[in-house]
Amino acid sequence: MQTPEYSLLHQYKKVEIEEETNLPVIEEADATGAVADAYAYFREHFGRQNIPGILKCFATHPPLLQQMMEIASTMLFCEGHLTRRMKEAIATYISSLNQCPYCVDSHAFFLHVHGGSDALVDALATADAELAPMDEKERILLQFVHKVNCDSYRVSPNDVSSLRDAGWNEPQIAEAVHITALFACFNRVANAFGLPSQQLLYLRNEKIGLEEK
């Protein structure tokens, strides 16, 4: 797992978010026992001081918090069969389709940090795949994940064949499905809790980012 985007956040002042959520979450100052331990584990392993809102939701039930961090670190916060940048492009696009302001903001920021251009970030963060500057191969993957998110019961072997013809291999296709499905889940948790955007994407204006790989 690599989380350079979190290290970058060290340099910037936290934006205070004051919106009320629909359900209580465990704030860092209120964390005790198993939750405090899990937050400390997060800071150490993910390298970010501020605990993300989505973890504060699961912290209301500590055993789930640890599982949640494991799922995130093994599936998302890593290079896999797909590049981290492509995973974040999918995460941003799906979160935008599902109108999840919290997840759109986080993952659009991560996409930016991992080399996504402003035009790409803006297009995916507004669910406008047509405007996204992507090549044909990437565009076909984006169309596929749209279908997985919005009409998964209609996915057919032909959709998968089109991806193969475009040059995607099976582990990559499997990973795209997995990431899309995970965001169908996380977007709903974040929205049901009413998590506000963390306003990370504004940091883009501060010109922070990683070298292009």
């Binding site: 996915v155 072997p157 929205n191």
Partner: protein, 206 residues
């Protein structure tokens, strides 16, 4: 039985995933079912392809769906089956209908909820929770404090609401993973047989 095995156990969409299981509990389950000529759940191939991810996912599912919580395991399974029906995921809907029916020991109750929770024999309190689950599935962006507040008014506490959200969200994951991977339904008899251990012991195998 042999005929139905052939019909039901057709290939999934990604042969490279299906034919590449790693050593794991799920590979053992697949091999045991094949050796016995029994139908099995093709989702086991997805779990056997990535055992480490499967461990986290199944561990998460066990806590959300089966371990002690403010919502009974039966009602959580109804949430899973109902969410799956909203997403038109036939495999998950039938599997969790069977798990719920095993727990309630009442096929008719579960079938009536799947047809329409509003006309089912569920209590008003339970119906309100399923209405909320429907909104989490179809329109989560429109959920506001008034939605959670009305659930509190009718007697659900925050922990119960959390479990309803998480169980519903988890099945929004499974429905897409399963449908987009081409996991096929099995026969009704096999759904009943395979649902029993899940109803009794939960999601973690062995």
């Amino acid at each position: 039985m042999i005929g139905s095995t052939e019909e039901h156990q057709r290939l999934m969409f990604l042969p490279g995933v299906e034919q590449n299981p790693k050593p794991s509990t799920y590979l053992e389950l697949i091999e045991a079912a094949r050796a016995a000529g029994m139908e099995y759940w093709q989702i086991w191939h997805l779990l056997a392809f990535q055992p480490e991810a499967a461990r986290n996912l199944v561990g998460f599912s066990q806590i959300v769906m089966h371990d002690p919580a403010p919502i009974s395991p039966g009602l959580r399974e109804l949430i899973a089956a109902y969410t799956s029906s909203l997403n038109q995921c036939e495999f998950c809907m039938k599997a969790h209908t069977a798990v719920a029916a095993h727990i309630y020991q009442d096929n008719d109750l579960v079938a009536s909820v799947l047809r329409d929770p509003e006309t089912s024999p569920l209590s008003e309190k339970e119906k309100a929770l399923l209405r909320f689950v429907r909104k989490v599935t179809f329109a989560s962006a429109d959920i506001h404090a008034a939605d959670t507040e009305s659930l509190r008014t009718i007697g659900w506490d925050d922990a119960a609401i959390f479990y309803a959200i998480t169980a519903c969200a988890l099945f929004n994951f499974y429905n897409r993973w399963v449908s987009a991977s081409g996991v096929r339904p099995v026969s009704d008899e096999a759904f009943r047989r395979l649902a029993a251990p899940m109803a009794e012991r939960g999601y973690v195998r062995k």
